[in-house]
Symmetry: C2
Subunit: 137 residues, 2 copies
């Protein structure tokens, strides 16, 4: 699989307002998108930092993926997302190369992205995501 | 402070050879630099992934920063580095904006970069680094 680059770094935070203020102020970030996605249990903000992007993820409750992450690990880096041309093709190539897929099919992620997650165990503890900007086929 | 973008994602790994093979194979990475820095207790590889960069960091022993991180947290994301024009100026602006600095002065990091670390506590648990490509003044 050949990734185009790092699409974003996903960061789990307890309070989205505070985190957003921090990233805007400390790093000169610019709010790109913001959304609340009840079915994913998350309130999220995409912040552009120069040519880079940080996705701030706050849980809507304790029994959500980000809520459980915060309870276990505390706030911090949650995942890294690589941009690819075609998420479905990337998943096939990742599986052949020995990755353990969390998502076997692309699904609609935050901000209209087509996404799929890859298990951290085969990537030295890093929860990794592949994303493309295309509409879901 | 205005960052140019994400310079790299620093990942702590137990075995540099294995991790390097994983990143080359799974994500189509390209080895950019590789170095062993005894005084930092680290063996490191910079891997280009498209326009992005992952820095793989393996400890030279248990009693090193990366060794202690691995013992406490296991392998995974360790820090994110933002590229800035001037590390010294960035440190001044970060301090005014309320960040807690680990390094009050730029120092020579891996691969000839000028670097300084910012404490994770004021950045929602994310150990952050500012780097510039310039020589140390």
């Amino acid at each position: 699989m050949r990734a185009r680059g790092i699409h974003h770094l996903g960061v789990a935070v307890a309070d989205l307002e505070e985190a957003l203020a921090t990233y805007l102020e400390l790093f000169g970030g610019e709010l790109e998108h913001r959304d609340t996605v009840a079915e994913q249990g998350v309130e999220a903000a995409a912040v552009l930092i120069g040519s880079g992007r940080v996705e701030l993820l706050a849980p809507l409750g304790d029994d959500t993926p980000i809520g459980r992450f915060l309870a276990k690990r505390g706030p911090g880096m949650h995942h890294v997302a690589y941009e690819v041309d075609d998420v479905r093709a990337a998943l096939g190539e990742l599986e052949v190369a020995g990755a353990e897929l969390i998502d076997r099919e692309p699904h609609l992620g935050l901000f209209g992205l087509q996404v799929a997650f890859v298990h951290p165990d085969a990537i030295h503890g890093v929860l990794s995501e592949v994303v493309s900007l295309d509409e879901l086929a």
